[in-house]
């Protein structure tokens, strides 16, 4: 052991330099960094589209863009954020942290890891190039419902193949994570000793493998309907346009949990650290996460209650959707119980975690409301649903990812970030995100449909408040970039443990950790297991 420690630097820690270090990287940390940087760039591209949307909706009448371009903005905003920002950010965190958390030197398939990242820039080049094509960028909604999506011009095949590439990338990433966790755990790191972030990622990886091929199948059928004369989704040819929605949401609902579970994992790491208290109900957290994932395959049709299903179908999907509230509630109660009688401090990661806890719960409440079929007939396709899923995604998923970045940034860079800037980032984001999304509930209930480029004058006041919240939230995110750059360049030296209450293998490594995380597997006991 001591021999390995002494010689580790000489033999293993010389990293490749220049552009080759990134292009040909097989290192989980470098690939993790690339995923995170890519996600950040996409976050700002998708965010810029949201700013265009909010600018046009600032007042009634059409001022800045045409309706068709507006539809492209809503469509591509969603595709970029979901597939370009949220999923890669989750994979980036997984790449960085999973080997360090389970006591492994790297991921199981380093070259596949490289490939699954480098597919992404090409996939998004395909997608974003459609803006310059005849017929413009996709404008039929990110859900790509036929027959509308088939009206897209030359960009159509580019959309389909971008989706295919993203699916391949995700599946490779998922296989890698499963292989890594199943085979490369340190001695003594049993499954029930895994940090919860690793658990949520295993479950996410299985969801990816189950769900992404379904999406690939659905978009392939769109492709053949458009170019090869099939009629899967064309009633005139014996097909069924609603069948696409069933297939799409069979992917789409698990996708929601693919996005959110990694953030749940991050929060389950952060809260015990800053409460200086072990996570409450570790085992029930694991079972609750697995139950949510399992149930997520039986609730898809709640996204499409208004298509006109038989009564029995509507009842089944209503009951199944309500059932998901139970394991989700267990998670929220467990996090609260972890905080209870702790000794809490509120550094930036903890602020984002508590922000997630409160605001995700609000999104959960509206989710429960929409699960009730007869009332969903009113809520469906209004700003109420826009408010709901943005509460889940922005202060839910994104706050989790940002919290994770603040939490592990000192570990990654070896420097503490600027705590004052971090707090500014949190408070500006937390306030503006509510100004941005809370009034959308009122608009939806008052009757404003979603995906409209212009609205009746009675909705003006709330839309103006929403747009102001949106602009402030957008600008606030630049603070994150500033903090990260500042932290990479220098700052107060971080200790190995970084945070007073931190536990887990990643905090036994130096800050920054060596290029190959654990060349000698550590011994894990009950005492050193999960935080």
């Amino acid at each position: 052991m001591s021999y390995a420690a002494v010689h580790e630097d000489e033999h293993h820690d010389h990293k490749p330099t220049g552009i080759g270090r990134w292009l040909f990287s097989t290192n989980h940390k470098d690939i993790g960094t690339m995923y995170l940087v890519f996600a950040l760039i996409m976050f700002f591209i998708g965010g810029a589209m949201a700013m265009v949307i909010r600018l046009e909706l600032f007042q009634p009448g059409m001022q800045y863009v045409d309706p068709q371009f507006f539809n492209s903005m809503t469509t591509v905003h969603a595709l970029v954020m979901i597939f370009g920002a949220l999923m890669p950010a989750g994979v980036g965190l997984a790449n960085w942290m999973i080997p360090m958390m389970i006591g492994a030197p790297d991921m199981a398939f380093p070259r596949m890891n490289n490939m699954s990242f480098w597919i992404l820039p090409f996939a998004f080049t395909l997608l974003l190039s459609t803006f310059f094509m005849q017929g413009g960028a996709p404008a039929g909604g990110w859900t790509m419902y036929p027959p509308l999506v088939l009206q897209l011009g030359n960009g159509f095949p580019f959309l389909i193949f971008a989706i295919h590439f993203l699916g391949i990338s995700s599946i490779m990433g998922a296989i890698n994570i499963i292989a890594t966790v199943f085979n490369m755990r340190a001695p003594g790191m049993t499954f029930m000793r895994l940090p919860l972030f690793v658990w949520t990622w295993i479950i996410t990886a299985f969801l990816l493998i189950a769900a992404m091929p379904v999406l690939a199948g659905a978009v392939t059928m769109l492709l053949t309907d458009k170019f090869f004369g099939t009629a899967f989704f064309n009633a005139a040819g014996g097909g069924d346009p609603v069948m696409f929605q069933h297939i799409f949401w069979f992917f789409g609902h698990p996708e929601v949990y693919i996005l959110v579970l990694p953030s749940f994992g991050v929060v389950s790491q952060i809260i015990p650290t800053f409460a200086r208290k072990p996570l409450f109900g570790y085992a029930s957290m694991v079972y609750a996460t697995a139950s949510i994932a399992f149930l997520s395959f039986f609730v898809w049709a709640h996204h499409m209650f208004t298509v006109g299903m038989p009564l029995a179908g509507e009842l089944f999907f209503m009951y199944a959707t309500m059932a998901i509230a139970v394991p989700t509630g267990v998670k929220v109660f467990n996090w609260t119980a972890t905080m209870w009688r702790g000794s809490m401090t509120f550094e930036t990661p903890m602020l984002f975690a508590v922000g997630l806890l409160i605001m995700f719960t609000i999104g959960g409440f509206t989710g429960l409301m929409m699960g009730i079929t007869p009332v969903d007939f009113q809520y469906h396709d209004t700003y109420f649903i826009v408010a709901h899923f943005h509460y889940v995604i922005v202060p839910g998923i994104i706050f989790g990812i940002i919290g994770g970045i603040y939490y592990w940034l000192p570990k990654w860079t070896g420097h503490m970030y600027d705590e004052t800037l971090g707090k500014w980032h949190f408070w500006l984001s937390a306030i503006s995100v509510n100004v941005l999304f809370f009034p959308m509930h009122f608009l939806g209930l008052a009757g404003m449909p979603r995906r409209i480029p212009d609205y009746s004058t009675q909705f003006t006041d709330w839309n103006q408040i929403i747009s102001i919240g949106g602009f402030v939230f957008g600008v606030s995110q630049l603070i994150l970039v500033w903090v990260v750059i500042k932290c990479v360049r220098g700052g107060e030296k971080a200790t190995d443990q970084v945070w007073e209450g931190a536990h887990g293998l990643e905090f036994t490594l130096p800050s920054p950790p060596p290029y190959h995380s654990f060349t000698t597997p550590p011994e894990v006991t009950d005492a050193t297991a999960h935080s």
Binding site: G61, M62, Q63, V65, D66, P67, Q68, N71, M133, G136, Y145, P147, L148, Q151, G153, N234, D240, P241, A275, R276, K277, F280, G281, Y282, T306, G308, L311, A323, V326, G329, V332, T336, A337, M339, W340, R341, G342, S343, F346, T361, I362, F365, L368, I372, P374, V375, F377, Q378, H380, D381, P439, F442, L445, A446, G447, P449, I452, D454, S456, T457
Partner: protein, 378 residues
């Protein structure tokens, strides 16, 4: 936004976040779901309020515990961390209680849903067909049918850089040229379907929305209890002008409805009778202008300039300036994204629109297409 309005909105926000105001105050600020005017909408509203109160109560408890913990269990207040990490009793309790609450919510929800699905025993049937971007209404028992599109005032104001302030337009984007007239106190079966892409027919006051899907027919019902004008919109993204195909219901007494039916029938008979009459260029150009505005301008744009890459320009187009027979054929039968207008418009309207297109902007075909010619080409 005036200071008064700002004050109102802030007060509204506070009121809602405290949940201490009655339902009517909610409605004044347009913050809450409408109670509507049908037995269904009343039930849906009650269910909505019940769940809203339940989740608010749960929220107060859960957030209360969190806040208590955040304020009292701080290191800076000298809190020392307990080390408990498990309690089977607590976990069983917070699994069982939510299940009980959910069952309590599911029972009234199931009853309401079953009530909404009883579409039988209707006294009349209205078929609603979604088109890009207007609605067609067929009164199946009366043989009345017509299209309903965005009102011309709204349509002018909503053009980009129109220079018209939407605040000066009455019921901006929520007004149509031909409202759908329905009798009150009548069980009406409403069928929804579509001709091109999926739309959704939604009038909040009725208490539901339902998708209009090409090739499929959904059935629904309503029973309007109070006369009045009820407005709604298409709720499913259906392309470029999805935001510009509103719905207006004019609910009237049964007697007034009967009068309206007779008038409408007479009007349609008159329109059908005079179909073959020879018309002057001026007459066709004038009619064509309105037909073009409500049927063609959405894609080919008000000045015939089209949308690059999506919808071809008509100004200077080879087909518009070529032989009239090809032009008529294209309009009747459609091509690619262009719908077949033979099912949507009568001979007079098609003849007028084509004549207008051939003699407007830079187009100088100079010929007149007569309704009889269109009839022959069908």
């Amino acid at each position: 936004m005036s200071v008064d309005k700002l004050k109102q909105t802030v007060l509204g926000l506070i009121a809602v976040s405290l949940f201490m105001v009655s339902g009517t105050v909610f409605a004044d600020y347009a913050l809450n779901l409408t109670e509507g005017v049908t037995p269904t909408s009343h039930r849906v509203y009650e269910l909505h309020m019940m769940i809203l109160y339940i989740v608010t109560a749960i929220g107060i408890v859960v957030f209360g515990v969190m806040c208590w913990s955040i304020f009292h269990h701080r290191k800076s207040k000298g809190a020392i961390a307990a080390q408990f990490h498990h309690s089977t009793t607590a976990e069983i309790i917070w699994t069982i209680i939510p299940i009980i609450i959910l069952v309590a919510m599911a029972i009234p929800a199931t009853k309401t849903l079953i009530f909404m699905e009883k579409t039988g025993d209707a006294e009349m049937t209205l078929k609603v067909t979604g088109y890009q971007w207007k609605w067609k209404y067929d009164y199946l028992d009366e043989g009345i049918s017509f299209f309903s599109a965005l009102h011309q005032d709204s349509n002018n104001a909503r053009q980009r850089d129109s220079g018209i302030d939407p605040n000066t337009v009455e019921n901006y984007l929520l007004d149509v040229d031909n409202p759908v007239v329905l009798p009150i106190n009548t069980k009406i079966r409403i069928l929804t379907t579509a001709a091109d892409v999926i739309h959704a027919w939604w009038v909040p006051a009725l208490g539901w929305k339902r998708d209009a899907i090409p090739g499929f027919i959904n059935d629904n019902w309503t029973y309007i209890e109070e006369p009045g004008i009820y407005r709604g919109q298409c709720a499913e993204l259906c392309g470029k002008d999805h935001g510009f195909m509103p719905i207006v219901i004019n609910a009237v007494s049964k007697e007034e409805y009967a009068v309206w039916v007779e008038e409408k029938k007479a009007e349609q008979a008159e329109a059908a009778a005079g179909g073959d009459r020879e018309r002057s260029m001026d007459e066709l150009m004038e009619k064509g202008k309105t037909v073009y505005a409500s049927n063609c301008a959405a894609c080919h744009m008000p000045e015939g300039q089209g949308v690059e890459g999506l919808f071809p320009a008509l100004n200077g187009s080879a087909i518009v300036n070529g032989p009239a027979s090809e032009h008529v054929n294209l309009v009747l039968n459609g091509k690619n994204l262009m719908p077949a207008f033979k099912e949507q418009l009568n001979d007079v309207d098609i003849a007028a629109a084509i004549t207008f297109e051939r003699n407007s902007w830079d187009n100088k075909a100079g010929d007149v297409v007569q309704p009889a010619g269109v009839k022959a080409a069908r």
